[in-house]
Subunit: 252 residues, 4 copies
């Protein structure tokens, strides 16, 4: 709670480098549980999908629930994993099959502190056609960096569509590259950010962007997207922190 209050005062905003590391594992787990409930309540996740966070004291570990529906996650379900995707101390709890999405991205992207994997319906169409997701408004301006599409056939041929091996995770991370999100053809998406509130906010506004971009395309004619320079300036001026407390309240 203390950290949240500091954040709302803008104090921590001056200290981006130490954000997560300033939190205890306890705090991060609290935010991770809230993130699970928020994403379920905002219809980004249903019975499937997951959200993780890099361990605040050990950059080579990350925190992720055992394999249950996000809406049901409690602190006791959060397991520590290493960058090979192996649970550190499973205590009989079954990990998600697709934990390699997370491990591979934390390994490839030191700047990433939180990862969401989702199957949000409005994102599915953009993964299977040749129309790139582009930023419709300031709230989704981070999309100006581009959203690549991961074609699992290129990495693994005919698969069961799941990223359930380290090598498929690495291929996905390679397609993500330095972007904020990647669509997965015939599957869903992955969103990354530097904090849990930011990855939750990005996931929520990515979903809205997909809907309104499809609507704008249906209206016909050229679309004026957010310019990369506009996106860059917006990124420096705002984050999703004001909405975080509201989302938490609504998810209760």
């Amino acid at each position: 709670m203390y950290r949240r209050e500091l954040l709302s005062l803008g104090v921590l905003a001056l200290l981006p480098q130490i954000r997560l590391s300033a939190q205890s594992a306890q705090d991060v787990i609290g935010d991770l549980v809230a993130g699970n409930h928020i994403l379920a309540n905002e219809n980004v996740l249903d019975g499937y999908g997951h959200i993780s966070a890099r361990h605040p004291q050990n950059k080579d570990h990350f925190l992720l629930s055992r394999s249950i529906a996000p809406e049901s996650v409690t602190a006791a379900d959060i397991m520590e994993h290493d960058l090979d995707g192996a649970p550190v101390d499973a205590k009989g709890r079954a990990p998600y099959k697709e934990r390699f999405i997370h491990s591979a991205i934390y390994r490839a992207r030191p700047d990433v502190k939180a990862v969401v994997h989702c199957h949000t319906p409005s994102l599915i169409p953009f993964g299977v056609v040749k129309v790139p997701l582009r930023p419709m408004y300031h709230q989704s301006a981070f999309l100006a960096a581009g959203v690549p599409v991961f074609e699992i056939r290129e990495a693994g041929g005919m698969t069961n569509m799941l990223v359930e091996t380290p090598s498929l995770g690495a291929a996905l991370a390679k397609t993500l590259a330095n972007k904020p999100a990647v669509l997965m053809r015939g599957h869903g998406a992955v969103v990354v950010a530097d904090t849990i509130p930011n990855v939750v906010g990005r996931s929520i506004y990515l979903e809205i962007n997909a809907r309104v971009q499809a609507q704008a395309i249906a209206l016909g004619g050229p679309i004026t997207y957010i310019d990369p320079e506009e996106a860059k300036k917006y990124a420096a001026s705002d984050n999703y922190s004001r909405a975080w407390d509201l989302w938490k309240k609504k998810a209760k």
Copy 2:
């Protein structure tokens, strides 16, 4: 409950042949009541439509509610029917007019243990145009087998659109053939599976698939659907069991 726990441990997944028969009629009725409530809560069914299950101890009987709204079904409403669609012991309860959908399919398809008949709005368009439903993502990969459309005019000429005779039921079962689902022109759909959780899950993701496929078509250009081989591999690796408990909780 015990069976659920075994399922979550993956034990029963190794024993697909004995799944339903391992359950008591009591357990199946419990799941059937839950299935009714879930399908109403997830907007697959409204005041109409129904879900049934083959009797776990008598493969020539099936269990189906009396004629009431799915949301209101309790264990006392579940009636046993034979494969002619006749209630075994009605006790004054009125059966659904369209119980012949179920009886004909259980007769034609020994592998089917559960059947849903629905009028889900997003499915209606695909029943009246020449655009086949195709699998958009892993969650609806079972659609790769194909979803035929039942034109009742071919079987019965100008009817009241309802499958309320054994012969119309048989014609519908013939169109369904060995597929997981069949659309009914100007009416709705039928979904089949080997367990109640699976038929509920298929019904829910069929609805989502219809919506996202329509959206992808509107975006324009070619669509990469789930390949039959991908679908086959996915089918072997997962089911909807993880979502089942969440759906039940939300339906309460």
Copy 3:
């Protein structure tokens, strides 16, 4: 309640001519209050729109709430009106401005016992383009009779769009003719039926039909609508009575 039970047994279905007259005014008012709440809960009505019923003992009177939001209507708000749209005993209560929709239709259509006027968003597009509403599935088969569009400019030139005079009401009733519903260009729709449950059911499925018809048109290609003969046969075999109790329960 008693009448409902008879209805569910199919007894009253054999006696369509005496349906409403078999009810007391008290019963009709109860159904009318329920109808208001249901239509608000099912998003057919918002703060505006209304539902009325012909008086069961006086065919030249009808029952309609005073001018308040449908969701807030109680029995004490229901006022008796004559076929000129005049409140019989207003007791200081303000009538709806557009009560002439109801009075004109009850005058022109002796078969009509219940009327809904709504501004349901999904209906608005079909009132302003040249695409007629047509029946997509059995639940909306009554649309096979056709849904004319009322252009108020033809009856009144440039108006405030409201049917707030007897002559505009008469013009609307003339456009409705012997049909089950009429769209009002730039305004909404009117739905009529022989019972309150039926006018509520028709209003709910009219809304769904508009949505799914628009979706089918977007998919492209020819659409197979319900044939008039199919609609006629369906009309003889069913009504919305099974859903009525569910809608009431959900509206509470």
Copy 4:
């Protein structure tokens, strides 16, 4: 409450000039808090966006919450601002960055007593394409006056998209001119009116209009919009007061 009752009797409708000034600041703050909650509940606002009202006793001041999510606003959060956008007595409360939207409009438009700034998803498409919003039905007839689009690049070049300076506010007010609403490219919209209930009602029906206009365009063919003369006559005959109490009740 007293004023509401007078309004419902139509008494205050005869006295438009003194409407707001007849209210105490206390009453306006009560309506402003309700307006925040209503707009959140009706999905016009999410964690962002704001609603303000001109001070009833000081036309050079306006009332606006401190920088929090609309759903969480209480009377204690409402701050008085002057027409430069400066809080009169902040007491440590942080103002919205984009308060200059409000200050500039109150300065330019003496007739405006209430302002909403929103990012409602269905409005976003109309801000980025060349299809103007036009009035689909009586409830949104006010749109007949036209809805200009504010291109912030014309006023400020490449910005962070936010109207966070007096000069950007003035440019926005200039684009709004004497209209009831203005779209902001890649951002959202601003709606103005002469009362808080009216600006709330306009915001709600603007959202519905955007949805149904997009649907009508998708149906194809020419659209008959509300004629300016029809809009003018409708404006004289109605307002959103009947819905206000319902919206308040639902937002609780």
